[in-house]
Amino acid sequence: MDALGSSHIAGMGWVTPLGSGLEPVWERWMRGDHAESKPVALPGAARSHAFLPVPAQCVDFLGRTPRLRRSSAISFYAVAAGLAALENAGLKVTPELAARTAVVFATSDGGVQYTRRFYDQIVRQGATAASPLLFPETVYNAPASHLSSQLGLDGASYTLVGDASVGVAALHFAGQLLDTLDIDYCLVVGAEECDWIICEAYQDWRLARTPFAEGAAAVLLGRSGPWRLRTHPGIPFFRRREVPAALERVCADLAASGPAQWAVCSASQPFMEAAERTALRRHYPGAAELHPKRTFGEAPGASALIQVVAAALAVQKSGAARALTPVVGFNQQIGGAVVELALEAIGPVVPS
């Protein structure tokens, strides 16, 4: 049985706390810019949390879309990133392409703002006050539905949920769809939105060292494209002490693809960092490290896809052969991916 998934990246997009657009965000990141954090407070309580929001101008252009008029922020981020990936690939959606493009949406917490608001209405005012306009947006696959609708895609649509490894699980899943369905492309979008209840929860889980962030990243997988992508199916862990061994195995499996010049790191918490450092030193000695979460924060559904986009840009801009992205979830799975410049693409995409 094939352990690693294999496909090509045809296009990418992201909507981050540093803005949107592959080049502008990359440049700001490399320059050392920091996103502006915003406080979010539990009403009536003294404590507040800081999170990294997406600048409003990144999604303003979607504001008048009828389908999105009542949707939550997560759907706006997902649609903006998905549109950017299609544009980056130079694809125009025709009826034929629409039917031959699947959508895989990844998230950890989904439409948490509407979920909290809807339940708040139940608790404060009773069930009769709960708005039927809010409830549909609380369903995990609402953003995927908006995404398909706004991009005009009517191929298969899947929503995957999980911890911060869900983005790479979605890429692996998308590769499986390319292997098993009669389709040409699969658009993978991971997204997250913030609400104070999520910040509370992450603090309770002692996951608050890296600020919670909003954002989305999109990777269009196809049968050809400038980058080759190999994905690991993942290894579950049941206790934090199992993370080092699982990460070790993932890195060893991915190392079979060859040495990587870049490692786009995942760890955002102390219990992950030591394990990631050890595994990278053993299997990828000498790889230069990038740490996107130090700048973009932790947007669980989007984080792994942000890593993959960063890895693709890193190899493209440096001319390196390969970049590794280990992906450490917080309570489910370890995964990972390797991004390579496709041989046929070397030349056109590497900047001089």
């Binding site: 049985m1 094939d2 539990l42 009536g44 309580a45 959508v103 950890s108 989904g110 979920t115 909290r116 809807f118 339940y119 708040d120 139940i122 608790v123 404060r124 009773g126 069930a127 009769t128 709960a130 039927p132 409830f135 549909p136 947006e137 609380t138 369903v139 995990y140 696959n141 609402a142 539905s145 908006h146 398909s148 005009g152 895609l153 191929g155 298969a156 649509s157 899947y158 929503t159 995957l160 949920v161 999980g162 911890d163 699980a169 899943f173 499986q176 292997d179 098993t180 209840i197 509370e200 929860a201 309770d204 199916p233 993942g234 290894i235 579950p236 049941f238 309570n331 489910q332 799975q333």
Partner: protein, 395 residues
């Protein structure tokens, strides 16, 4: 192109309002039992709907350290997987594909209430709210360290999970996959369907002219899928086969299907094409049949169009246990497996008046014996996700 692999079902496990386990479920199906009862887990004094298909706590044996504070959803999925392994102890999945819509939502509700009423107090068990936790709990309970994929495609999740698992084995990408679905009742989801006026204070009457909406339910079901030759080589029981899977996406509206029924029609057509079967070769359709005005109108139209007037027998087993959301597709697949194994057509309860919009052959009110070789099972969800499975009797 390599020859597609055949996909066997070697074991199954189920915990539904109809009963704990395959045998109790079969007995309830044969008796056409109505397993819907007044909701007891949370206050329903302000909702229109008051009933649901529920799992009694007595059916959930913790068998774990109570300090783990596992969610009922975990206990349901653990019970179903335990039964699966009792049926095929040699099954070693390479992957788990599980559907759900709301994970351990009631723990999220409790967390919110704790913050709302006493903001200084922290709820430490919120980690068990996340949808991956029941899957991890079930994996831990049976010692499986395979990766998992958790599909949240609303009410089609369970069928999508089985369909994706089937596709992987059929294409030779995996040899053994555990698939299924789970969902536990929660106040938020119950009130949500009530707010949409999709749920009913009445009985659930799928395809009836006087249908008034759905009744929610809860439960879990899993199936062990394996490439047929591999299963036969190790002497595993072959309970049935999955032979086709079709899916479609309907972008018409977030919560309403396109009135033409094009979404369900495409999913069924594609499942039949995938199985290499004609509509007339089906012996039974386990419909999505939620008894909402919109679903039954579009599904009824699509079935009548594809299978012809008065064609293949149709029933919705949601009429017995309610709509179990992310678990529904998996539970109904196991119901279909039981129908194939024991040769019966499950009843569509509370059916009295045919809807003049279509001419369907409804299995009205009583389960009946029949020769059943092939079944089509439908699941359609919010967001326009439509999925159909074709299942066949083992030979």
């Amino acid at each position: 192109m390599p020859t597609p692999c055949r996909v066997a079902i070697t074991a199954a496990g189920i915990l539904s309002p109809l009963g704990p386990g395959l045998s109790a479920t079969r007995e309830a199906l044969l008796a056409a039992r109505d397993a819907v009862s007044p909701v007891e887990r949370f206050d329903v004094s302000l909702t229109r709907a008051k009933t649901a298909g529920q799992i009694p706590d007595a059916w959930l044996s913790p068998e774990t350290d109570p300090r783990a504070r596992l969610h009922r959803a975990s206990l349901m999925l653990m019970a179903a997987t335990r039964e699966l392994w009792a049926g095929d102890p040699g099954f070693e999945p390479e992957l788990w594909v599980i559907g759900t819509t709301s994970g351990g939502m009631s723990f999220g509700e409790a967390f919110y209430r704790a913050l709302h009423h006493r903001p200084a107090r922290r709820a430490r068990w919120l980690a068990n709210y996340l949808p991956q936790k029941p899957v991890l709990d079930a994996q831990a309970a049976c010692g499986s360290v395979a990766p998992s994929q958790i599909i949240a495609n609303a009410c089609a999740s369970g069928t999508n999970a089985a369909g994706h698992a089937f596709s992987l084995i059929r294409a030779g990408k995996q040899r053994r996959v555990l698939c299924g679905g789970y969902d536990a009742l929660s106040e938020l989801v119950f009130v949500g369907f009530d707010a949409l006026q999709a749920s009913t204070p009445d009985k659930i009457r799928p395809f009836d002219r006087d249908r008034t909406g759905l009744v929610l339910g809860e439960g879990a079901a899993v199936m062990a899928l394996e490439e047929l030759d591999s299963a036969q080589k190790r002497g595993a029981p072959i309970l049935g086969e999955i032979t086709g899977y079709g899916l479609s996406t309907d972008n018409h509206h977030l919560t309403q299907p396109h009135p033409s029924g094009i979404g369900p029609l495409r999913a069924m057509e594609r499942a039949l094409a995938s199985a290499g079967r004609a509509p007339r070769e089906m012996d039974y359709i386990n419909a999505h049949g939620t008894a909402t005005a919109f679903n039954d109108a579009t599904e009824g139209t699509a079935i009548a169009q594809l299978f012809g007037p008065g064609g293949v027998p149709v029933s919705s087993t949601k009429s017995m246990m309610g709509h179990t959301l992310g678990a529904a597709g998996a539970i109904e697949a196991v119901v279909c497996l039981l129908a194939l194994q024991h040769q019966f057509l499950p009843a569509n309860l509370h059916y009295s008046q045919a809807d003049p919009a279509w001419d369907l052959n409804i299995v009205a009110n009583h389960t009946r014996p029949a020769r059943v070789e092939r079944i089509l099972s439908n699941s359609f969800g919010f967001g326009g996700t439509n999925a159909s499975l074709v299942m066949e009797k083992a030979h």
